[in-house]
Amino acid sequence: MAAFHAEEARVGVFICDCGSNIAGFLDVPQLMEYVQTLPHVAFAQENMYTCSDSGRAQIIKGIQEHGLNRVVVASCTPRTHEPLFRSTCQEAGLNPYLFEFVNIRDQCSWVHMEERQRGTEKAKDLLRMGVARAVLLEPQESTAVDVTRAALVIGGGIAGMTAALNLANRGFEVKLVERQPELGGLLRRVHTLYPSGALARPFIQEKIETVERHPNIQVLTGATVRSVRGFVGNYEAVVRQGEREYGFAVGVIVVAIGARELQPDGLYGYDGQRVITQGELEERLASGLDLGASGIRSVAMIQCAGARCPERPYCSRICCMTAIKNAMLLQEMDPAVRVYILYRDMLTLGAEYEALYHEARARGVLFIQYQPDSPPQVSAGQVSIHDARLGETLSIPTDLIVLSVPLVGREGAAELAQMLKVPVDEHGFFLEAHVKLRPLDFATDGIYLCGSAHWPSDIGESVSQAYGAASRASILLSRGQVEVEPIISMVDEEACIGCGLCETVCPYSAITLADTGAGRKARTVAASCKGCGVCGAGCPERAITMRHYQDQQILAQIDALMEAVA
């Protein structure tokens, strides 16, 4: 590709309305008028949705008809849409690294919704900075590296096992690591499944056997992941099982560590005897609870126990269905037993589940709503609840109280997240790359997510997510190669004095000193360099250039910011 020179830059700027997400809060016509006054801008266009097929066709047309050799899109965030617009440029024959993203939605229109003119002025600054950087961009060629055709699945519950089977059935080698001594996860303690009422044990047992028998799956139970190094297509994981440590080379990683039931100490007199959790009820049911012999004539289930409160503001999603399922089961076992479900809001999403709720009502399960500011009061042998509809406080005699507690993140989630360099939220649930566009991917390439590690999910959801995560992972594994971003360091050997500071600071050993005819000089190991730029920002001789994040490109952005003021 012919070298580009800044003075020949012809920049096309595409400003996205994002429907009303941007155009509703910023003055886009003003931005359009403004951007055309900037140096090197040869073409500008407003799009309803720049990421749509027609928006991208406009970019291609602009490049071809106006001879654009730099493209700036002002819309959402590069973290989700940069790959799309880069490939659009590529379709039109423009090197994808001659593309620059300006974020005027997530970091402008959405956060300055009441300040239209100041938000618009900020967007002008950002556009000016983006164009200044675009002018100085240089084409880059990405390199391909081989992918190790094996997967590491962390977590042996229903999600992890499904993902492992799916990958193994496609012919890939899978290492399945489970912390507990046996596979099965949360389902091991579940008695029956909703909405079918089928027993959980045979279902999970069959899955476990299929996994354990599969020739492509190596199961490691009682094992934990100790460290993970490397990058997409080439991860090295160390797994400890008992006293032994194994090193595995894998191309992809699936995180399926699930979640655990909250231990409700101090809530509603929880004692694990007369006041138990739904999980403990499941265990008692599975081991043949005898209602008559236990003297249980009346059961109260308290929903949202420890959930949707300031410490855990989220809805755990599976507890309403679990309560309905278990209430019906108790009444089936002994129709004389009364079951009360004390709830804030019943959430039974989907036709089948809503039908189950109505069936439970028809069969005589009693639903009584409480308000969060007056929760049920538990005392010996009874629960009192203020029913806002009746305007009365009811006293319900109970022999057993079951708390529907939320799922919370697994212990060790934060450590694993740190090892993998992926985010978890404050409750210990992992965060996907994008809630709608990449719900099963992490922002870190080659690492995927499924099941309740992400968010409390039921079996159907966990299985669907596991299929999805396995599919996403197998794209990489099937291709066998992955393009590595060419954002790496480059050493100017003439300027380099061979001091070795870069070698010291590099976390990847991606820059090393080599003997040359002109003395010792630093050299980048392209396949290992991740492009962080720590070496470049510290080189005493300024002999290191960071590709695509060059000093002059960053300084030009700073200068452009202050141009309007000067």
């Binding site: 919704m113 978890v424 994040y549 700073i558």
Partner: protein, 253 residues
Amino acid sequence: MTQAEPFQPRILGFLCNWCSYAGADLAGVSRFQYPPSLRVIRVMCSGRVDPAFVLHAFSRGVDGVMVLGCHPGDCHYATGNYYAQNRVGVLRQLLGLAGLDPERLFLDWVSAGEGERFARFVRQFTERVQALGPLELTETLRENLAAARRAVESEQIRWLVGRKRELSEGANVYDEAIDMQAFDALLASSVENEYLRNRLLILAAGRPLSVKEMAAGMGLAPRAVLAHVVALEQAGQLGLATIEGNSPKYQRM
């Protein structure tokens, strides 16, 4: 009298791609509102932020600079944020020497899940800069910042800052743990020397100056200046230009 419109600062932010930029995106997705004062430059890692960038921004009149990275231990590149922290430490000292309130430089950590924390930082820092008022870019401040920039670009300072993390974790060649307090004191005195010498060179670039004149120009005692003049003369960076009466006058070589 009506309340004057509060000053609208212009703040430059360096956000790392993996944590703080993602946190800023999350603030947007969550519609957390914050003042429209911040202009963001996305870098791959907070460790990419050359201290010279920050000084360049101030010398262009930016009212405040934010550097936001991943939480310690969470850096996508393992350790980049520690280098950012050490560099910002040196920058704070230099800003103080240059007569620019170090409070105009903000460093903290924001994870991809902390949209609210990001929005809060922008709000708080904007208020802080508003309280400090617009940056007044006098000719003296420009020259001070130029000296500071030369200091952070000097081999010695880059070496000391670059090695600090490694030294703080390891031992010296005699296998003794390194006294980091002593190291920090050495770093601070080196930074000050480097700054003052570069400031002298800038002062003496145009015309020959006596030690007394230099001291007056820098607000220092002549004795303190003399030591640096001698060092610079030995390094061949400052030379004797003329002698007026009893006063030798020096000029940048």
